[in-house]
C-alpha cells in the first residue's frame, strides 16, 4: 500500500518536472526554428506556416547593399574589440587569478561590472566623456566602448582556465630550469588556450550583437548590423530580415559546433 503510494508520488513528481522541462526546451528552441522556416517563404508576409517555399528572400539579401555595409562594419568592430579584449583581458586574468589580495578581488569586481550595469547608461556616459574631451564618435570610439563591455567574458573564461591549472606543473618546469617566459609559452599558454578561445568567441558574438553601446558611440556613416535590423523592424516587417536572421542562426549554430569541438564550450559554461 505504502509502496504504491510512494511510487505514484514519485511518478507524479517526475512527470511534472519532465513535462515542464520539455515545454521549456521547446520554448527555447521554437523561435529560431520558426524564423528559419518563415525565411524560406515564397510569399510577401511573415505568415506562419508560409504559403509556399522559395529562396527568393535569400536572393534579395544578396543585393541588399545596406545590410552588407552594416554587416561589414559590425564585423570589423567586433574583430578589433575582440583582439583588444584578449590582449588586455588575458594579461589582467594572469595577474588577478591566483592572488587573494584585496586589490585583486576589487579589480576582478571592476572588470566584471560591465556585465550587470545597464549598457545603455554606459553608452551615454562614454558619449558624454568623448564629446567633453573633443573626441568625435568614430569606429575608434565604437571599438573602445565594445571592448569595455566584451572584456569581462575574456577575463572570466581565462581566470576559470587558470584556476584549473596545476601549480605543480609550473613548479616542476621552474625546477627543471625553464625561464618564466618559456614556462608560460610552453606550459601555461597551451593549457589555458581553450579558455581564452572560448572567452574570445563569446566576446566576439556579444560585440557583433551589441546595440546599446553602438547606439551612442557610432557616427552617422558607421551603420551597425543589429541597429540596421532593429530600425528595419521598427518600420516595416520585412521578409529580407527573416532571411538575414536565417543566415545568422545558421552561422551561430556552425560556430557553436566548431567551438564545442575546439574548446568544449558547454562544459566551460556549466562547471
Amino acid at each position: 500500500m505504502a509502496g504504491r503510494k510512494r511510487t505514484l508520488e514519485a511518478f507524479s513528481f517526475e512527470l511534472v518536472m519532465t513535462l515542464i522541462a520539455i515545454i521549456a526546451l521547446i520554448l527555447i528552441i521554437a523561435p529560431s526554428l520558426v524564423v528559419l522556416i518563415v525565411s524560406f517563404t515564397s510569399g510577401f508576409s511573415l505568415k506562419f506556416p508560409p504559403p509556399g517555399y522559395s529562396l527568393r528572400w535569400y536572393a534579395e539579401l544578396w543585393d541588399a547593399w545596406q545590410l552588407h555595409f552594416a554587416a561589414k562594419n559590425s564585423l570589423i568592430v567586433a574583430l578589433w574589440a575582440t583582439g583588444l579584449s584578449v590582449a588586455l583581458g588575458v594579461a589582467a586574468a594572469l595577474a588577478i587569478s591566483r592572488s587573494q589580495a584585496l586589490s585583486a578581488r576589487l579589480l576582478d569586481s571592476l572588470f566584471m561590472s560591465p556585465l550587470v550595469l545597464p549598457a545603455l547608461a554606459f553608452g551615454l556616459a562614454a558619449l558624454m566623456l568623448f564629446s567633453l574631451v573633443g573626441l568625435p564618435v568614430s569606429p575608434l570610439t565604437l571599438v573602445i566602448g565594445h571592448t569595455v563591455v566584451c572584456v569581462p567574458y575574456v577575463v572570466r573564461n581565462t581566470v576559470a582556465a587558470l584556476a584549473q591549472l596545476e601549480p605543480t606543473l609550473l613548479e616542476s618546469s621552474a625546477v627543471l630550469g625553464a625561464s618564466r617566459l618559456y614556462t608560460f609559452r610552453r606550459i601555461v599558454l597551451p593549457l589555458i588556450r581553450p579558455g581564452i578561445i572560448a572567452g574570445a568567441f563569446i566576446a566576439f558574438m556579444s560585440s557583433f550583437d551589441n546595440v546599446p553601446v553602438s547606439l551612442f558611440l557610432r557616427d552617422a556613416a558607421t551603420d551597425m548590423l543589429p541597429i540596421r535590423m532593429w530600425q528595419d523592424l521598427e518600420g516595416k516587417l520585412d521578409v529580407t530580415i527573416a532571411a538575414l536572421s536565417g543566415v545568422l542562426i545558421i552561422a551561430t549554430v556552425a560556430l557553436v559546433a566548431v567551438m564545442e569541438r575546439v574548446t568544449g564550450l558547454s562544459r566551460r559554461l556549466t562547471n
Binding site: 507524479s12 513528481f13 517526475e14 518536472m17 519532465t18 513535462l19 522541462a21 526546451l25 520554448l27 527555447i28 523561435p31 529560431s32 520558426v34 524564423v35 508576409s45 505568415k47 506562419f48 588586455l88 589582467a92 594572469l94 595577474a95 588577478i96 591566483r98 589580495a101 586589490s103 571592476l110 572588470f111 550587470v116 550595469l117 545597464p118 545603455l120 547608461a121 551615454l124 556616459a125 562614454a126 558624454m128 566623456l129 573602445i144 571592448t147 569595455v148 601549480p167 609550473l170 613548479e171 618546469s173 621552474a174 614556462t183 563569446i202 546595440v211 546599446p212 543589429p226 535590423m229 532593429w230 523592424l233 536572421s245 545568422l248 542562426i249 551561430t252 558547454s266 556549466t270 562547471n271
Partner: protein, 287 residues
Amino acid sequence: MGTAPASRDVTSYGMGLAAPLALFFLLFFVAPLLQLFWLSLHNDTAGLHWGLGQYLHFLTDPFSLSVLGSTLLLGAEVTAVCLVLGFPIAWLYQRVGPKLQTVIILIVLLPLLTSVVVRTFAWIVILGRQGIINATLQSLGIIDTPLKLLYTQFGVVIALAQVQMPLMTLPLITALGRIDPNLDDASCSLGAGSWRTFFRVVLPLSLPGVIAGCTLTYAAAITAFITQSLVGGGQMLFMPMYLYQQASTLQNWPFASAISIIFLLAVLAVVSVFTTLGRLSRGYGGA
C-alpha cells in the same frame, strides 16, 4: 627553505599585468560614469548650476516613477517565469545520459549566442496578428478575431523569458551538479517523498545557483532594450527606452544622466540584495 617564496614566484604573476586593463577601465569606464554622475547633479544642460533638480524632477514625476516601477516589475515577472521553467531543465539535465546532456546544453546555449534582434524578431512572427498562436487558435475555431499578443505585457514577459532563459539555466545546472546525489536517496529512504525531498533538500541546496541565475536574469531583463521596445511597442515604456529618448531625441543630457544613475542604483540594489542572500545561503547550503 628557499622553496616557499620561489614557488610562489613561479605560480603567480605580478599585479602589474593587470595595469593596462585597469588603466583602460579607469579612462573609458570609471571616468565616463563619474562624468555621468557629475552632470546629473546639475540643473542645466551646460552643467553650470549645481543642484538636485534632475533627481527631484524624476522622483516627483508620477510618469517617471511609473516607468521605473513597471521596469522593476517586469524584471521580477521575467525572473519568476525563467526560474519556474529553467529549474526543471537543470533537473532533467542531471537525470539523462551524457549524449542527451550535450543536446540539452546546446539547446540552452544556442539562444544565448544568437543575435538578440533575431530572437526578438522571432517573437514578432509568433505573437503577431497572423502569427502562429493566432493562426492555430483561429483554425481550431477557439477564437474568431486575432488576439492582441504583441505590444502587451504578456508578450514582453514571454519573449524576455525565452531570451534570458540561458542565464538562469546555466548556473542552475552547475549548482545541481554539485549536490551529492546520495542526499536525494537518503531523504527518500528516510521516508520523505519526491516532492518533499525536492522542496526540502534539492531546492535549498541549489540556492546559490538559484540566486546567481536570478541576479543575471533580472539584470538582463530590465536592461533588455531591443526586446522591450520591439515586443512592447510604443505604448509600453521601460527605463532603457526612457533613458534613450531623453538622451537622444530630446538631447536632455542632465535628465538622462539622472535617469541612468537612478537606473544604475536600482540594478545595484537588486544585485546586492541577491548577493547578500547568496552569501547567507552558502552558509546554509554549504555549496
